[in-house]
Amino acid sequence: MTHRTSATTLYRRKSYRRGSYRRERRVDRVYYLFLVPTLLVFTAFVVIPALIGIFYSLTDYVGFGEWSFLGLSNYAALFSDPRILEAYGFTLGFAVVTVVVAQVIALALAVALTRRIRFATTLRTVFVIPMVVSGIVVAYVFNFLFSNSLPAIATAVGFGPLEESILGNPDLAWLSIVIVSAWQTIPGALLVYTAGLTSIPTDLYEASALDGASPWRQFRSVTVPLIAGFILINTILGVKGYLGVYDVIVGLTGGGPGTATSSVAMTIFGGFTGGDYAYQMANATVFLVVTALISVAQIIATRGRAVRL
């Protein structure tokens, strides 16, 4: 790819100025052989489909046959479509609630597991089990618990609000999705936090204890600042995962009752059978922008915080 031209000489010099130990040597061609195939398949299977999708979002394509250019009218229609806005509202709200619930529980469990307790390894082994099971299957199991067992228990103890299945209640169905998503994603976050907590030097706690810091104060002033990076990773990966929520919803509510728990992913997939292919591609493009913006915003926001602490 790069031959001995003036350009390569130029950035070779630049790399020299950077203090790189890579001296005046030509790049071994084999490195391109290592990298280029990956770039090509990645382009073919990920980037090109994304570009095709974005392109069709500007047309009236229905998934087959003729199409013509529409410009941005799909996007205009999108922002006044209550079904789409509702899906975004649901997905964003769900992601925020779930990331908070899952991170708080995961961090609490990680702190508890790194204290002087018995059977720490066994307990951790158990808490990590949900990580290895399939989301859709877990959702089917919980579907049964929510629609049969929970109402049965509520009836037995006379607790009115839960006597009907929460899956059939438009105001409560989302809770079931939060519970199962959190159940499934807490283990991964827990392991990240455990790694973070064990990396904190013990003498920091000893020193702060000598200064009279309470355990809660130690947690706020020692633990949290030192694992800020781990909180950042967990939150970004968590939110990105929750925004794409699909499997768990399919297994629990199928997006219902009505469209109460219909996520953005579900509305997009509807485009393949619903005949509004181009329209849903506009939706997918907006979804991509939203996901990327949220991730970037989180990085900026949390980094500022980590510096201040």
Binding site: S20, L35, V41, F119, L123, Y140, T198, G244, T291
Partner: protein
Amino acid sequence: MTTTQTPVRTQPPAGLRAPGRVHRTSWPLTILLALATLTVFVPLYVTLSMAFKTSAQSADGNAFSLPAPLNPASFAEAWTLTRFPVSFGISVGVAALAVVLTLLLSSLAAYAIARNWSRRFFRWSMIYLLVALFLPFPVVALPQIQLTALTGLDNPLGVGILHAMFQLSFSVLLYTAYLRSIPIELEESARIDGASTWQIFWRIILPLLGPMNATVGIFAFLASWNDFMMPSLIMADPTLQTLPVVQNIFQSQFGTDYNVAFASYLMAMAPTIVVYLFAQRWVISGVTQGAVKH
């Protein structure tokens, strides 16, 4: 459960050092945590007990009762309904393909990138590959369904490739971070001895990447094995579906035979749980490695 490392009485288990000033075992906390494991055990217990019930007992509304009488026939029925050997085999094939492709493509790419970081082409390639970190599959799903159908990849082969593609960014990220910690002197001396870059990668770098291969492999395997979204959308032939996807037959046709459905769920969940319990130290250190390395 199987814990290979039994803690010595007065010492905390390795890797779980207490950062606090509490020096004696905290029993209330231990008991609290033990109670919290119920959140994991209850769904698993219900699955297990439901799977062994008779159809009549499974429909009585009490999920927590023990099976009486014990009825293992549900497993035989679930086995034939889901064509278990076929769907299990396809799941194994898809996951194996995804893992092999992920390991191979991302380790080679990461090595090239890490060792040529001063060159613009390699740096930009890294950024290019990282784009997919912010790209959820639903965004490309519709074009993907069409393209895989056009190219004849609307089958397990295509799903395996796609799983690897969506694992690439994360894996390259992990590998490059890890490669930076491998001293370059090892390679330089091999190079002086006349080894080519190709030989250096296979003989020196790949073995050194051992722990990271495990981490990347575990993530790739779990993502592929447990996925529902991609196979359910991409696969054109329902008889070639993976194990998680075939579980959906119990949502419609066989709605009342809960015992058969749960026997099937159990057969779908058990393989990874059993493997995990036997290899838990290895899995946990692998995942933790991934958390620390970037």
